[in-house]
Symmetry: C2
């Protein structure tokens, strides 16, 4: 039997395993602290295509193919794919995975989508709906700037609270057994709106949602922060990190000793001019595939709470003066 | 045990029940053939708000509240919500359900999202991950025109193959028992791209995906079209209906005797000037809630294959000359 625990979490009785993972990243990410760990770094930001959106689709395709290759699986062996990206109407994903001929659930959780896709894939595998399921997400600096901010040619100034959208895609194959890491539980998140309206300060928009999900996870599983070797948010960056630590302190939990943020890990703030850190669906996805999972597989981290964070806005909602609510999905990953 | 059947379907051993459903629609839909069946028809297309997007959020909120009221449930009793809309970054849904404080999975499958949300909600309930789950989708004529086509003030001419986006939202509450209809199986769909590039002829873009999913459903469950009282597509309209019937004939199945399309049912083509029919996430959702489910609950239809259909495009992909791939998710709903 599957167990619902507490208010909003699931503890899997049959914990699905992450049997393979792949990361494909861009040049800037390749020059960062995690550069050597990515499966593939592409020097050409167009990935051989003629538009940024096609480039992002190619990123996804490469990531999925690499993950399939590592698991020695054919696309036809993947029963369901859970995927998404940041672009309006998920065009990077739709065009990226179409050729694979895998039944697909399109997801949108802004930069939290990596968590959403892993949670749903784990739920499907654990319930016996799929022998193999894939979770895939991506972001691309240029397609995201075009979608959300300014065309690159405009050369706008970036405030210091702004994050840098990661060019990258992470793909994960889940199954009932195999591999040295498994998903033992999930805490799907709520939309949390603190009324922040600054789209150039995503960290502040998303930190309350991260706090909400981490708090609920600790309560639902009856754990303390130290019960995790790491509590890893997706892309809060330096600004959001301070906020989530403060907010959780107010609720009685000190995560400062175990907190890590993918947006902080992926770039060298001193030399790479990335201001508050990295962001985007790809940020948490490639960091999980290239850095976090290997640590769990080695056993240097036994149990990790992975919490990709998303800022829910569009240019339409922003231009209409709406706030930027956040959402964060928690995934518990353990060594096995 | 849950059963995977055939290549891409699930047959639930514990079939989740649809314990309540609600439909909220706009004035034009209220004047159509299904007008009297909607729970709520709002004469004011702004729904009391000051933007089309906020109006669509209000539609969703009203639909969910109505469905909760019918089931005598509080929002806090819904463990997970599966929802989406057509707008970039799902802003109608994010802002619509934020106040409800329900953990949310954001979904995008274009106009197939009603099927995607019902499939995932059914999978969650049947697996024991949730006592109650909600599935909600919406579309709004004006927010969709603004997102995908032209501002309303521009007064563009609509070709005859064009569909009319339905202003409406449908909400469904699923649980282990209760009610007279249950979801006995699902066939999640693949992205199918026939290379059609005409965004004013969505029916032609989506028909191949509908064909693929219906064909796979019949094969996986080893059924003939007559094993269903109705096979109901989401919004193929008059143009797409002819295509899907022809395509399935080529594959050896004649669905002409049992086929119905929500986009054809919802408007009176003669008097309402809606050309090829209705479309949008809301089209299949309100037709299911107001028309299809009551027929199943009464027992006049014993078993229905409900197949919402989506056209995967954005203004960016369209302007870059890309094709419009389709996707369709199949949901088997039976009287009980």
């Amino acid at each position: 039997m599957h167990h619902t625990v507490g208010k909003q979490s699931i503890q899997f009785s049959a914990a699905p395993h992450i049997v393979s993972a792949a990361s494909v990243a861009g040049k800037k990410e390749g020059e960062g602290p995690l550069g050597e760990k990515f499966d593939l770094v592409c020097e050409n930001p167009m990935f051989g295509e003629d538009s940024w959106e096609k480039a992002e689709s190619t990123l996804q395709k490469e990531a999925l193919q690499t993950a399939l290759g590592k698991a020695k699986l054919l696309p036809s062996e993947i029963r369901y794919l859970f995927g998404g990206d940041l672009l309006g109407q998920l065009i990077a994903t739709s065009f990226g995975v179409a050729d694979m001929n895998i039944p697909m659930f399109g997801l949108y959780g802004a930069c939290s989508t990596c968590g959403e896709s892993l949670a749903l894939a784990a739920m499907a595998v654990s319930a016996g709906y799929a022998d193999y399921a894939a979770a895939i997400t991506s972001s691309h600096f240029a397609s995201a700037e075009k979608q959300f901010r300014f065309p690159l040619d405009y050369g706008n100034q970036r405030p210091l609270a702004a994050t840098w959208t990661v060019t990258g895609s992470g793909a994960f194959i889940l199954a009932g057994k195999g591999g040295r890491a498994r998903i033992t539980g999930v805490t799907p998140g709520k939309v949390v709106d603190y009324g922040v309206k600054d789209s150039m300060n995503m960290g502040a928009c998303m930190a309350p949602a991260a706090c909400d999900t981490i708090y609920q996870n600790l309560m639902d599983f009856n754990r303390q922060p130290e019960d995790y070797d790491k509590i890893i948010t997706g892309d809060l960056g330096y600004v959001g990190q301070r906020i989530v630590i403060d907010l959780l302190k107010e609720k009685g939990f000190d995560i400062s000793g175990v907190h890590m943020d993918c947006g902080i890990e992926i770039y060298d703030q001193e030399t790479q001019d990335t201001h508050a850190g990295g962001s985007g669906c790809g940020c948490s996805a490639v960091t999980l595939a290239a850095h976090i999972l290997p640590e769990i597989e080695k056993g240097s981290w036994k149990r990790v709470l992975f919490v990709p964070t998303g800022a829910l806005l569009s240019t339409v909602s922003f231009n209409e003066g709406r706030s930027v609510p956040g959402i964060a999905h928690g995934v518990v990953i353990e060594h096995c």
